[in-house]
Amino acid sequence: MIPIDFEYYRPSTIIKAVQLYQDLTGNQKQTIFYGGGTEIISRARMNEISPNAVIDLKNIPECNVLKKDTETITIGATVSLTQIADSAVFPLLTNVARSIAFRTARNKITIGGNLTGDIIYREALLPFLLTESEAVIAGREGTRQVVISGNGIKLNEGEFIVQLVTNNKFAQYRHINHKTTKQSKVNYPIVSIASILVDDQIRVAFSGVCAYPFRLNQIEEALNDVTNSPGKRIQAAIDLLPAPILHDAQASSEYREFVLKQALQQLLDNFEGVS
C-alpha cells in the first residue's frame, strides 16, 4: 500500500509525455516516468521514494513496438520482459530476459524500466551493450538516437527511452549468457555475464560484478589475446575491472571473484572449444 498521494498521467503521444513532464516539474512537482511500475510501487510502499506525479508511457504507440525487419530489431521501451522472453526476435536478449526475476514480475517489468531503473543490476542492458544497439530517446529538444555503450544509457532531466534499435545481423551470432545467484535460480545475480562471438572475437558484458553493469574494450582485448593462457587472460580481465568487486549480503567480493573466474572459464571453453 502506497501511503502518498500522487498524480497519474497516461499520455498517448511522445510530445504530450515530454510536455507533461515540463509542465509538472515547472509546477515544482517531482515527476517520474512509469513503465511497469515494479520498482516505483515497491519503493513507494517502503517510503523510499515519494513522487508527486508519474507519467505512464504505456499508451504511447512507439513504446509498444516489438518487430524485426530486414535491417533492424526494434523494441519499444514499455514492452514487457515476458513479451521479450516469449519472442524470438533477439535470441540473446530473450535468454537474458528469462533469467530476470520470475514470470509474474516479468509480466510487469518493462525493458525500458529495467535499463533505466535504480536497481544496480539492470541485466537487460547486457545484450544491447554487446551489439552497438541504439536507444531512441525523447526529450524537450525532440528525439535523439545514441549508441548504447560503456555503462549504459545516460538520460538527461525529462528524457525517456522510446525504443531500442539493434542491427539484426547480431541475432545470428553465437552467444551465451550465464547467471549465478546466491542460491535459488530466481534471485539477484552474484555474477551475470552475456557474451557474443563477432568475427571470432569475444564480446562480453557484466552485471552483478561491480555496482553497475558494464562492457569494457580492454577486458575484451585481454580475453581475446590468444597468445596468453586462458588462466592469464581471465586474471588480466579481472585486473581490468572498472570498479571494486561488489561485497554485500548476496556474496562476498572474494566469492564473487571466484564465480566470475568460473564464468569466464566457461565462456572461453564454450567459444574456443568449438572454434
Partner: protein
C-alpha cells in the same frame, strides 16, 4: 494381538478445509471488510540498539484522519509469555531493528501509514550485541538492565541478573568423569546459524473492539485464541470472561502465531479511540522482522564413545539467539535441554542450555520448538563420531538408539508406549533411501557427486503441565453431529482428523460430522494452543471423551425406548440397537433431541456430549539437574537426504528427501504424508537458504522477500514418506503427534550428505554454495 478393523481411522478422508482453499473462497482474518473499522500502523525502529532521545509526533498529527498516536508510555509495562520483558511499544530504548515504537490510528490505512512515516525519532546509538557468543562475554553490553525486576510468568524460567541470559536450563545426568573414562574416543563439534523466519503465507493480523459493556472483542490470526485471552486478561487486568477471541482458519503459522504481539497493540489502540474497532495488519516486511522470528543457535557438542561406538558421555552447550526479547525462547532453550542428546541412550549427560538476548529480532516458537536446531547440532556430531570410529553412520545410530528401559536426559523412564521405535524407523529409512555404506558416495559421468546423509530425531511436546482441550458435540435433527473444539485449523488438517476420531467412535460416516472450522472462545471449550504436535492427543482425547458422554446419554434414552438396559445396547450407523438383535433399534435422530412417543409424551432432553483432556504427570525441571518430566511421550523418526553436488562450483541439487516417522497410528494417510512433505520442505528451505543477514550494526539486510530467499516449488526434491506404528497406549487409537516432526532432521541430514560430498565439516546454516566454497577452500574462520 487384536486385529483392528477400523472403518474411518487409517482412511484418507479428504480434508474438510480443502475445497474452499482450492477455490480461493476461504476467509482469513484479514479477508473480512468491516465498515467503520479504524486502521493502525506502526512506526518501527531503524536501529538495533539505541536510546530513544525524543519522539516528535507533530507532523504525524497533521495528517487528516488521524485519531490517535500511541508511544511506549501508553503502556510502559513489560509483557511476555514466559518472562515479562517486552513493552508492547518500545520504552526509553529500542533493542532490535524493526521494533515498534509508535502506533498511529486513523480512518484509513494510507493515512495511518503516512502519519507513521512522519514520526521523527531521535536515537542515541548503544553498542550492538550481534551474536549469542558476544552476548555471553563477561563485559558484554547489557540489553536488559533491569532483568532482575522482570516477572517470571511460567515456573522454570531462570534469568541471570546483570547478564544477557534470559534462561538457563541445566541437565546433570550420571557422572561425567565416569563417562569420559569409559570413552575411548571423543569428538567435538560446533554449529551455528542466525535467526530466520516462519514466512507463513498469511501475514499476521488482529482486530480489537471494546464494546460499551466492557467486553473486548478480538479477531486474530492466532494459534492460541485462548492464549490471547489469557495474556490480555493478565496484562491488562480484564476479566477473562469479558474477552472474546475469534479465529477463522489460519494461513500457515509454523509456531509464529503461537504468541501474542499485535493483539496487545490493537487493544491499546482501540482503548485510545473509545473502544472503536481497530485493525492492525502486518505488511510482509513487518511480518518478517517486526513480528517474532525463528530462533538462532550457537551449539557445542562433545561426545565420548567406546571404540565399538557405544556412546558413554555427552557434554552439550546451547546458546539460543532469542533476540531482543525472550518470548517463548526461554521455553525453547528448556525443550532443547530436555532432549539434548537426540534419540540416543547416553548414561552421562551434561548440558547447559541458554536463552540469550541479542539485538536481533526476537524469536518465538518455530515448528519443532528447539528440535530442528538441536538435531542439526547432534546429528552433525554423530556423523563426525562415525567418521572418527570409521563405522557406518547408520550403524552408529542403530547401536545407540534409545528405547524402552533407557532414560532421557531429564531421567524419564522410557517404556514401550511413551517412546516410538527408533530402530524400526532407522531400518525402514535405510531401505527407503537405498542406504549402502559402500555406495553412498557416487560420481556421475559429468563429474558430479551423489551422496546420502541421514539423521535421527525425537521430540516430546513441552506443553505446560496443565495443557488442556475440550470438545462439545451437539446433534442436528437429521442425526448429524456438530463438533466444536478450539483446535485451530492452520493447514495441518486437524479438523479432519478430529472428525475422523469422532466418526470412528460413533461408527458414523464422516459426512455426518460437521466440524466447526472457526474458533470462538465464547462458545468453544478451552484449549491451551494449537502447537507442539499436541492436538491429535489432547483434542483427540477430548473428542473421544465427548463421544463417550454422548453415547452414554443416547444409550440411556435408548434403553427406555427399547426397554432394555443401556449395557445391552450398541450404536452404529445412526442407530441405537440391541447388541444381540441389531434389528431392534431406534434412530439416533429420534433420540438425540428427546424421544417422542406416539401420544406426544417425550423422554430425554437434548443430547450434548462434553469431553475434555488434560496432560498428566508433567513437572517443571529441577533447576540444578533438570530432573523432571517435560512431556507426555516421545515421537521419533529418521530422515535422509540425497544430493547431487558439483565440486567445480560448489552448487548442489537436492534429489531426494525421505522421512520415516513413528506415528503410533496413522489416522489419515494422505494428510500424514502431506504433513511430512510440508515439514521436509520447511526444513530444507531453512537449511538451504533461509536466514537473516545482519550488518555489524545489527541491521537486517534482507527484510523482504526479494532478498529473503525461500525454497521454490520447482526446486523441491522427490519426497519419500513411510511410517512405523508403535501405538501410544493412551493416544487416540494409538496415535502420536506428527505436526512438527517432518522438519526436525532435515538440516542434519542435508548437512551430513553435503559434508560427505565435499569432505568438509559444514557446520553452519544456510548451506549456500558460498559457505561450502569457504569451508572447502579454507577461506578464513567462519565461526
Amino acid at each position: 494381538m487384536k486385529t483392528e478393523s477400523y472403518t474411518v481411522i487409517g482412511k484418507s478422508v479428504p480434508r474438510v478445509d480443502m475445497p474452499d482453499k482450492a477455490f480461493g473462497r476461504t476467509k482469513y482474518t484479514n479477508d473480512v471488510t468491516i465498515p467503520g473499522v479504524l486502521h493502525a500502523k506502526l512506526h518501527t525502529s531503524t536501529r538495533a540498539h539505541a536510546v530513544i532521545k525524543s519522539i516528535n509526533l507533530a507532523k504525524a498529527w497533521e495528517v487528516p484522519g488521524v485519531r490517535a498516536i500511541l508511544t511506549g508510555d501508553a503502556f510502559p509495562f513489560p509483557v511476555g509469555p514466559m518472562l515479562a520483558d517486552r513493552p508492547p511499544l518500545a520504552v526509553n530504548k529500542v533493542r532490535y531493528c524493526g521494533e515498534p515504537i509508535a502506533v498511529v490510528v486513523a480512518d484509513n490505512i494510507h493515512q495511518a501509514k503516512k502519519a507513521a512515516t512522519l514520526i521523527d525519532v531521535e536515537y542515541e546509538d548503544l553498542p550492538v550485541v550481534n551474536s549469542p557468543a558476544e552476548a555471553m562475554k563477561s563485559n558484554a553490553q547489557l540489553i536488559h538492565e533491569n532483568l532482575s525486576n522482570y516477572k517470571v510468568q511460567v515456573k522454570g524460567v531462570y534469568p541471570t541478573p546483570n547478564t544477557n541470559i534470559a534462561n538457563l536450563t541445566k541437565i546433570r545426568k550420571g557422572n561425567m568423569q565416569t563417562g569420559w573414562e569409559a570413552s575411548d574416543i571423543t569428538i567435538e563439534s560446533r554449529v551455528s546459524f542466525t535467526p530466520a523466519d516462519h514466512a507463513a503465507l498469511e501475514t499476521r493480523c488482529a482486530r480489537v473492539e471494546i464494546l460499551s459493556n466492557g467486553r473486548v472483542m478480538v479477531y486474530s490470526s492466532t494459534q492460541g485464541p485462548f492464549y490471547v485471552r489469557k495474556l490480555l486478561s493478565e496484562f491488562f487486568h480484564i476479566d477473562a470472561g469479558m474477552i472474546s477471541v475469534q479465529t477463522p482458519l489460519v494461513g500457515g503459522a509454523f509456531g509464529g502465531k503461537g504468541t501474542v504481539q499485535l493483539e496487545f497493540i490493537a487493544y491499546l489502540a482501540s482503548r485510545a479511540v473509545g473502544g472503536k474497532m481497530v485493525k492492525i495488519e502486518n505488511s510482509r516486511e513487518e511480518d518478517l522482522i517486526m513480528s517474532p522470528v525463528h530462533i538462532g543457535l550457537d551449539a557445542s557438542v562433545k561426545l565420548g564413545a567406546t571404540k565399538d561406538g557405544k556412546l558413554k558421555a555427552a557434554e552439550i552447550k546451547f546458546l539460543f539467539d532469542s533476540g531482543a526479547y525472550s518470548d517463548t525462547g526461554a521455553g525453547i532453550s528448556k525443550a532443547a535441554a530436555s532432549d539434548c542428546t537426540g534419540p540416543y541412550a547416553i548414561e552421562n549427560v551434561h548440558c547447559d542450555s541458554y536463552c540469550v538476548y541479542t539485538n536481533h529480532p526476537y524469536a518465538t516458537s518455530f515448528r519443532g520448538f528447539g528440535h530442528p536446531e538441536l538435531t542439526f547440532a547432534v546429528e552433525k556430531a554423530m556423523d563426525k563420531l562415525a567418521a572418527r570410529l570409521q563405522v557406518d553412520p547408520f550403524e552408529l545410530r542403530l547401536l545407540n538408539a534409545i528405547g524402552p528401559g533407557d532414560t532421557t536426559p531429564t531421567q524419564v523412564n522410557l517404556n514401550a508406549s511413551n517412546i516410538g521405535d527408533v530402530s524400526s524407523c532407522l531400518t525402514k529409512i535405510r531401505n527407503l533411501i537405498g542406504w549402502n555404506p559402500n555406495k553412498n558416495v557416487q560420481t556421475t559421468r559429468d563429474g558430479k557427486i551423489r551422496t546420502k546423509g541421514i539423521s535421527c530425531f525425537w521430540k516430546t511436546s513441552s506443553t505446560p503441565p496443565n495443557a488442556t482441550a475440550g470438545a462439545v458435540l451437539t446433534f442436528n435433527t437429521d442425526g448429524s453431529i456438530n463438533l466444536n473444539c478450539a483446535a485451530v485449523e492452520l493447514g495441518q488438517g486437524t479438523k479432519t482428523v478430529l472428525g475422523q476420531i469422532l466418526a470412528e467412535k460413533l461408527k458414523m460416516d464422516t459426512k455426518d460430522i460437521h466440524v466447526t472450522l472457526e474458533v470462538n472462545t465464547q462458545y468453544d471449550p478451552h484449549q491451551w494452543k494449537t502447537v507442539a504436535s499436541s492436538t491429535t492427543m489432547i483434542a483427540g482425547r477430548a473428542v473421544l471423551a465427548a463421544a463417550e458422554d454422548a453415547i452414554k446419554q443416547l444409550k440411556n434414552v435408548g434403553s427406555t425406548v427399547l426397554k432394555s438396559s443401556p449395557e445391552d445396547l450398541d450404536i452404529a450407523k445412526g442407530r441405537i440397537f440391541l447388541k444381540d438383535s441389531p434389528e431392534y433399534g431406534v434412530k439416533i435422530t429420534d433420540v438425540a433431541v428427546g424421544y417422542k412417543y406416539p401420544n406426544g409424551n417425550t423422554v430425554g432432553g437434548l443430547v450434548v456430549g462434553n469431553g475434555s483432556y488434560n496432560v498428566r504427570h508433567l513437572t517443571p525441571l529441577d533447576p540444578e539437574t533438570g530432573f523432571g518430566k517435560p512431556g507426555p511421550q516421545w515421537g521419533v523418526g529418521a530422515q535422509a537426504v540425497e544430493v547431487e553436488y558439483n565440486p567445480k562450483d560448489y552448487t548442489y541439487k537436492i534429489v531426494k528427501a525421505a522421512t520415516v516417522l513413528d506415528a503410533g497410528k496413522v489416522i489419515n494417510p494422505q494428510a500424514a504424508i502431506g504433513q511430512m512433505r510440508g515439514g521436509m520442505y520447511l526444513g530444507l528451505s531453512w537449511a538451504t537458504r533461509e536466514s537473516f543477514t545482519f550488518d555489524d550494526k545489527g541491521i537486517v539486510l534482507n527484510p523482504q522477500l526479494r532478498t529473503y530467499d525461500i525454497l521454490r516449488a520447482s526446486e523441491t526434491p522427490e519426497y519419500l514418506v513411510d511410517f512405523v506404528e508403535t501405538p501410544l497406549v493412551d493416544g487416540p487409537y494409538g496415535a502420536r503427534g506428527m505436526g512438527e516432526y517432518g522438519v526436525i532432521g532435515m538440516a542434519g541430514a542435508l548437512a551430513n550428505s553435503l559434508s560427505a560430498a565435499c569432505a568438509a565439516d559444514l557446520n553452519q546454516l544456510p548451506l549456500t554454495p558460498e559457505l561450502i566454497w569457504k569451508l572447502v577452500e579454507g577461506k578464513g574462520d567462519v565461526q
